[in-house]
Subunit: 140 residues, 2 copies
Amino acid sequence: MEITDALDLLKEKGYKYTGKREKMVRLFSEKRRYLSAKEVLLDMQEEYPNLSFDTIYRNLTLFEELGLLETTEFKGEKQYRFSCGSTHHHHHLICTKCRKTISFEMCPMNVIFGSPKDFMITGHKFEIYGYCSDCMEAGV
Amino acid sequence: MEITDALDLLKEKGYKYTGKREKMVRLFSEKRRYLSAKEVLLDMQEEYPNLSFDTIYRNLTLFEELGLLETTEFKGEKQYRFSCGSTHHHHHLICTKCRKTISFEMCPMNVIFGSPKDFMITGHKFEIYGYCSDCMEAGV
DNA sequence: CTCTTTGCAAAACATTTGCATGCCT
DNA sequence: AGGCATGCAAATGTTTTGCAAAGAG
């Protein structure tokens, strides 16, 4: 996913590409890792000091609905990251310190399961947690 | 995990086996599925009408620390279930309607990965979501 | 009798909503 | 101009904490 894709998606659906939305998109595009609503707010407030949580949440929710952002849940907080692009299903290694992610394509569902007859599968979650090389070196 | 194991664990660590704790343990032992704090409270209040959330949370936290309960996170709520017993690592199929779980021993970590050099793995989460046979029939 | 457990009340924290105003197209 | 976006304030929902009273070993 690139910034221009995000812009197109918003336009296409009739949403406005405001300065705040642009900055939010740029933030996610630069960081490429999971961010909490609070982190987004703090970063945004450098440019928009009056910005408040409701706008952040409204836009995070909108972006998620549009498929711009992928989400997961982490220590009781929802976490958002720029979508890797929906071309193929994938999973992540997630650094629990800096929340950087590394994608990988292997999916256990393909490898292992047939479909159990007594359970209708609708989804799954597979995430690997640990420390990325930077955070390892920093001495966790 | 059986009720008597829970009792032993509490005694062993010097915690008291109060009527409320006993009922909580029995509840989890009977249900054998994920329950939210609210569900636990509602069930408990049939016997203890004045019981409040703080006691529930304190005991849920204690039980989790003791390894009596396994937890996961689900729609912004923490969910607790009676531990399957720590004899071997396992994962769950989770019915998203009734939160019943079905254990399975296959772990994708064993099957697929060596250890990537640039990431120190400390944990993982693998859960499969869907509808159990009961909820399928009930016509979700 | 002592230390743990509980109830009460209040607070902390993440998230959501109503409403009036402001801004993009 | 018209509809979407935002700020403000207040509410919601989950979970935590301090303190004093009650209960278990």
